[in-house]
């Protein structure tokens, strides 16, 4: 079954596709055209390999075939002479150096992959378009798979991708890796796309079940790829660490009925040790990169550190709450937010007792920014319950139940109100 030649060709193509598109776009300057050329090369492989056998270096074969097709297409369209020459020279060079084709192809591939990532996540595109194009070009997901994952009709996704490609052409987006200040800004956009893909798979309450882990895995893989392409950037390792660590809890985070299980109630033996180890290694790489640039940890690294505090604790009571309080402090300093402050209150409650946590929450309650945030009364109720102030606790849980729009959350709050007595 696994030795079926058709399957083998499909597998080779899936592995090589992003690299093909990345390299071809350097020549064609158009991701749409490159995607078609890659597909053409694949069709040729499907025709020829069953007859001639799978070539000894299938990756190089596909690349060469696709580049030849690019040349043909250019000839037909009689595009600018300069580009034509460039391509012709590349092809001649490759044909003259047959023995180590793959090394020659590898040389530029890193830069091309980076260019492709930055193009797919370009700010001229809407966030939905960035996600769809990234999954299509770099993840190799079909439009149907993307549609299923995001529960939108397939034609919508197909159109989104077509429009995105058109926008890239119309706005004359240059196929390049941004420099200097722009690099940092553009990286943030790329991180957002990767995290959005991950979160869609991880937190989604809808969409087809089997697609969700695939989205998470694809986001994680893209993160790992980017971490190798831009290892100097601390936040990419922070992002990878965050996803590895969150992914490590994938199997433990819902019960058999699909209900979410709170972190402290999860069965820690179901946490994936391999991913935890990788997450902790990524955190170490992030700190190394920070040290080299004399930079302070960014938000992804800090969030990864939070996840790591839980990952390192074999039992909930082993959690290093002091460290968690400190990390929330650092996050607050980076981007002050009442929601982070509320989380810090929870951590302080765990570290120093419910009274200390309650004081922070009460101070927050006086501000109006969280007045519609149901977790504020929920947290307050929890702290009051721990202080055995049952009546007040019940009222807070009831208030939280009224505030949330989510049925499941409401049920949990009502239950806690009843339990408060």
């Amino acid at each position: 079954m696994a030795t079926d030649p058709h399957r083998a060709i499909v597998a080779v193509f899936n592995i090589e596709r992003p690299k093909l598109i990345a390299s071809l776009t350097r020549i064609t300057r158009d991701v749409g055209v490159s995607e078609e050329l890659a597909q053409d090369a694949f069709a040729t492989a499907l025709e020829e390999w069953p007859k001639s056998g799978v070539p000894s270096n299938p990756a190089a074969w596909l690349m060469l075939t696709a580049k030849r097709k690019a040349l043909d297409a250019h000839r037909r369209k009689q595009l600018a002479a300069k580009k034509y020459d460039e391509l012709g020279r590349e092809l001649r060079e490759e044909e003259n150096t047959p023995p180590d084709l793959d090394a020659a192809l590898d040389d530029d591939i890193g830069d091309d992959m980076l260019r492709l990532i930055f193009t797919a996540c370009h700010p001229v595109l809407s966030p939905e378009a960035r996600v769809a194009l990234t999954l299509r070009l770099l993840g190799g997901l079909t439009t149907d798979e993307i549609a299923r994952a995001f529960i939108v009709p397939e034609p919508t996704v197909a159109q989104r991708i077509v429009r995105a490609k058109k926008t890239l052409t119309e706005k004359e987006v240059v196929y390049e890796v941004p420099h200097g200040e722009e690099l940092s800004e553009r990286l943030v956009t790329v991180f957002e796309v990767i995290y959005l893909i991950f979160n869609e798979g991880y937190a989604a309450t809808s969409g087809e079940n089997w697609m969700r882990p695939q989205l998470c895995e694809e986001a994680l893989r893209l993160g790992r790829v980017l971490a190798e392409l831009a290892p100097y950037e601390p936040e990419i390792h922070g992002l990878v660490a965050l996803i590895e660590l969150q992914m490590s809890r994938f199997a433990a985070r819902v019960d058999t009925n699909g209900e979410a299980i709170l972190l402290l109630d999860q069965n820690r033996t179901h946490w994936d040790r391999l991913l935890i180890r990788r997450g902790l290694q990524a955190i170490a790489r992030a700190h190394d990169a920070c040290a080299k640039l004399s930079r302070l940890p960014g938000t992804y690294l800090l969030q990864a550190e939070l996840a790591a505090c839980h990952a390192r604790a074999n039992r909930p009571e082993d959690t290093d709450w002091a460290k968690i309080v400190g990390i929330y402090g650092a996050l607050s300093a980076l981007s002050p937010s009442p929601i982070i402050e509320l989380n810090r209150a929870v951590a302080i409650g765990m570290l120093m007792g419910p009274q200390a946590g309650l004081e922070i929450v009460d101070a927050l309650a006086k501000e109006h920014t969280l007045k519609n945030y149901y977790l504020l009364p929920a947290v307050r109720g929890d702290l009051l319950a721990k202080l055995n102030r049952k009546n007040e606790a019940r009222k807070e849980f009831e208030r939280a139940a009224e505030m949330t729009q989510n049925e499941k959350e409401r049920a949990v709050m009502r239950k806690r109100a009843r339990e408060a007595g």
Binding site: I15, T269, L274
Partner: protein, 138 residues
């Protein structure tokens, strides 16, 4: 899908002969390629079985047998853990692996069970109970 790729042992690996410089470089390049593609989760080489041991079970009885072990071709000399989309992809990746031994190598690709592969049953319940017990321990 997660796969374990098992590198079978050879006479050399069992004799504790270190791989040649060329092989180390080729292996390094191959590993790098898998890391760059974001698919390699872990991988290590194992020392010869002379430095290992076996535990044999018979009912409640356990007998420890020291290495080395005779059936070289069945022994394991190393492994990778990779994350790919299908067995076919795992095969295509591993066909690119340099021959791990001078005297003829063999790789075995096996899919890893994930918790979701198990139907809810007694085994899973026991597994979950272990977690609950761990939580109770102070």
């Amino acid at each position: 899908m997660r796969f374990m790729v098992i590198v079978k042992a050879s006479k050399d690996s069992e004799a504790g002969v270190m791989p040649s410089q060329e092989l180390l470089i080729a292996m390094g390049k191959f590993n790098e390629e898998m890391v760059k593609a974001g698919i390699m989760l872990a991988g290590d080489g194992l020392q010869s079985s002379a430095k290992g041991a076996r535990i044999k079970f018979e009912g409640d009885k356990r007998t420890v047998v020291d290495g080395p072990f005779a059936e070289t071709k069945e022994l394991v000399a190393g492994f990778w853990m990779i994350q790919v989309k299908s067995l076919a992809e795992a095969i295509e990746w591993m066909k690119r692996c340099p021959n791990p031994h001078n005297d003829g190598g063999e790789l075995e690709i096996r899919q890893v069970f994930e918790l979701s592969d198990f139907e809810p049953g007694e085994g899973i319940r026991i597994h979950e109970k272990v977690g609950e017990e761990m939580k109770k321990q102070k």
